[in-house]
Symmetry: C2
Amino acid sequence: MPQPIEFFFDFSSPYGYIASRLIDDLAARHGREVVWRPILLGAIFKLTGSAPLTTIPMKGEYSKRDFARTARYHGIAFKMPDPFPFSGVQANRAYYWLDSTDPKAARGLAHALYDAAFSGKDIASPQAVIEIAGGLGINRAAVTAGIASPEAKERTRAESDAAAARNIFGSPYFVVDGEPFWGSDRLDQIEKWLETGGW
Amino acid sequence: MPQPIEFFFDFSSPYGYIASRLIDDLAARHGREVVWRPILLGAIFKLTGSAPLTTIPMKGEYSKRDFARTARYHGIAFKMPDPFPFSGVQANRAYYWLDSTDPKAARGLAHALYDAAFSGKDIASPQAVIEIAGGLGINRAAVTAGIASPEAKERTRAESDAAAARNIFGSPYFVVDGEPFWGSDRLDQIEKWLETGGW
């Protein structure tokens, strides 16, 4: 049984969103599953001296143009979130709460959250996350309690820490049979890696 | 007559080298010329708070793996320069000296310099640059004087300043009919842009 592809991302990451719309189909073409792992890059950026792209002189303007152009290149709807960056912590907690009992539903929630964030909707507040989950038929009272649970908070923190310990410093970041790939622009290499087993 | 593609790069840039092996053929497939513009990123990195990728915690190790893997992906020979990064100032001066009288020969010299740098040879010293130029049949005494000329020094500085003034902050960086593209991983978008006129 081939290993699943690990897909690490921050909900506030534009290139992570673009990858989220492509990675499941790519993996399925090669008979692979994808394990989705939302992380919080803020703490990791402190370690690498990095910052949200849009805040960097010169790179900021370019990156905003490139996000939108790259989304259109792939035929993906895209609207820049405002404010940006935003906190994905509530979304991560909801994801990991649901993942602990129903990974497939958690995947569906992650897609819905990402699509909402990059179509101009708030996903930073607990209320917004609860509404989006409710729209998918997930019990609102259960998700409200789930987001606030110590287990969800601890798992959210532990997943980011574990990623940082593995030197996962960006979003999207993939691990395919032990090989790391950073960026939505490495999906073509991932596809070839899955086809050929590496080169 | 379609405009040429502008190709900005630093001789010390691994992704710039990879692009240098691909961009002429890509442009030729679409009836375009390429104007090569070596720049010095050191000064620009100060403006953007950036640094050579290999020196950044976590990103450094990844990037070295990605340079080599991406080169192999494209079937391009690649050896990491040591020391890295190195100064491209002498190479730039030789390039612009030759470009002022023979742009086609300057292109040939740029290819030879890049290929030398990424096959483990020094191109940081004037002597190394003169030897490589001499190997292409360029008069050694002329290139020796050319590198040291005030005109070559001034042009080298002016080209980096002009690039910085246009917010060109990385290598490789392309401008295609006014549209900016950063990175060797944007060559697929450049190809589609040339095919379709944009999207």
